[in-house]
Symmetry: C2
Subunit: 134 residues, 2 copies
């Protein structure tokens, strides 16, 4: 069911410092910041040859990243995103197997303009999993 | 400097259950367990079309994964591994920029039979980073 690893998301306390780290120290191709008000985050995508790293920084007081950064002040890996062909079919199969879908259970439009869903970390080895329909 | 994302490593409390989750529920291609006594882990690689997930489980009482699982009993993302062409050149550039290399600072042979090094999470946005020479 799952296809490519679309991205690994890393929550960071200082977006400029993290972008400089990946660009200057690690020599990667770092994009421009994009505000995603519907998700409460500002993101920067880092293009690797086979996948992307998504740097996440809180946008607004209700950002879902605030709690994570309170617990992990240096930042940390926040979620991984797998691609699926049909997000509704994937969701229904996962729910039938007992996995919990976060929020309303209906896909939202993600940072790439594609439908996304998040799955409960307790059902996926402690890992917050995003599914993105491509 | 960094190239492909070689793998994302997820520490898991129950290797069989995690393998079944990825194989049966998520429909991914799951390999056989491999003991890596030099690293204190048993690993299972999951082959995605563009990269790999490495499931990690402690092997032995001194496993470096024991502490992580004590703090994260459900499991969690443990590290990410970037490929580099020349691990000594990468290490020396990172050290010159002030980043800390874990352990002796000399590469060990990793789960793929290639030289690897680990970098200090505090210097990389709270993320444990492995470099693998390919």
């Amino acid at each position: 069911m799952i296809g490519r690893l679309n991205h690994v998301a890393i929550a960071v306390p200082d977006l400029d410092a993290a972008a400089a780290l990946y660009r200057d120290t690690l020599g990667a191709k770092v994009g421009a910041p994009q505000d995603e008000p519907d998700h409460g985050v500002t993101v920067i995508f880092i293009e690797l040859p086979n996948t992307k790293i998504e740097l996440l920084h809180p946008l607004g007081e209700d950002s879902p990243i605030n709690g994570f950064l309170a617990k992990n002040p240096s930042g940390g890996i926040h979620h991984i995103c797998y691609e699926v062909d049909d997000i509704i079919a994937a969701r229904d199969k996962l729910k039938a197997s007992g996995a919990r879908v976060l929020g309303t259970g209906e896909p939202k439009i993600g940072a790439h303009g594609k439908p996304v869903l998040f799955l409960h970390p307790k059902d996926f080895t402690g890992t917050l999993v995003e599914l993105e329909q491509v």
